[in-house]
Symmetry: C2
Subunit: 202 residues, 2 copies
């Protein structure tokens, strides 16, 4: 049994594409092994279970995004509100590129998995919530900065950050259902209008 | 083989609960038959395929909602903006009740299915889009009325209606991922702040 690093990478890349393009339950370990060109024994050497594989897929994707367009969008050099626009633009172009290649808009891997497994897998659910927490923290610091700079009126930045993340996920959900990335381009910019007011001090 | 109407109803109710509580792919026809107490032959008499069953489940749920809390929320007797609040309240109490019984927040059946099957099943995808169109039409007429009554400043009511539907789905997605209906209660009311401006006439 070979166990070179490229075997693991190949399994991971194959699983990520299949989970994202279809669903978690719809893709079997045998199919992943066949497409990745690895033996089942080799698979289990790296990933004792399908759940372990999904954990690694989530890490892999979150890592790519954190160092890719999320880092670009939330660049501190950009004025805060432009970061939100950049984020929406990036989501649009990413989904559009995926659809141009596959014919189908895959949506957000994290949102897809969250709706598919949240009632059934506490380990994956916790993992996905950690990803959502990080995303929400980016929105939160952006809003704090926007308020500080006077770019927006004071508001409950923590709650509004969560609402913005929810909106982003919802827009991608609707766009996936329509199989139309333009939904992200048209509806997405409204993310800047979402506001949850601070509770009045008593 | 019996084919009384209650057999069909029993299959439908069982499938709806299982699809909603878990996922489409995760639930097999055998399990549905076993739990509903029907023979496979009887199942196929009513539903030639699992896809046919899912179509009927979507109709059944959409119908219940249209005549239940959606009708109540979008009651023309209510001022338009209160309809949005009612809709959020209804979503919150529905999810909370489901979680209190099952321990798990099931989310929105339509959103769940949309993310699970949109890349793979054009028939179910079209069906779900018809449900989303109807929901969006309710938001649209509510916004038109709100603008007419001067309750909100003029805006692109069609696009904002879509954005509000997306937000509702996104909030339920995040709440399901957190397994916490309070997310709907806290973030949901921000639906009223979402605005997409009309394009300037040229």
């Amino acid at each position: 049994m070979r166990s070179d690093p490229t075997t693991r990478t190949r399994i991971l890349a194959t699983a990520r594409e299949l989970f994202h393009g279809r669903s978690y339950a719809d893709v079997g370990i045998k199919e992943i092994c066949d497409l990745a060109g690895v033996q089942k024994g080799s698979f289990y050497h790296f990933f004792p279970s399908k759940q372990d594989l999904a954990m690694a897929v989530i890490d892999d994707m979150a890592d790519d995004w954190a160092h890719g367009f999320v880092a670009e969008a939330f660049d501190h050099q950009l004025p805060p509100l432009e970061r939100l626009e950049y984020m929406i633009d990036a989501a649009y172009y990413w989904q559009k590129a995926a659809k141009d290649i596959e014919g189908r808009m895959p949506g957000c891997l994290f949102g897809n998995l969250a709706l598919e497994i949240s009632t059934r897998d506490e380990v994956l659910r916790a993992k996905l919530n950690a990803v959502f927490d990080k995303a929400s923290a980016r929105f939160h610091e952006t809003l704090d900065e926007a308020v500080e700079l006077g770019a927006i009126a004071p508001l409950d930045t923590a709650a509004t950050a969560q609402a913005m993340l929810a909106f982003l996920e919802g827009v991608i959900l609707l766009a996936k259902s329509r199989n139309d990335p333009e939904v992200v381009r048209v509806l997405g910019p409204a993310i800047k209008t979402i506001r949850i007011e601070s509770r009045r001090e008593s």
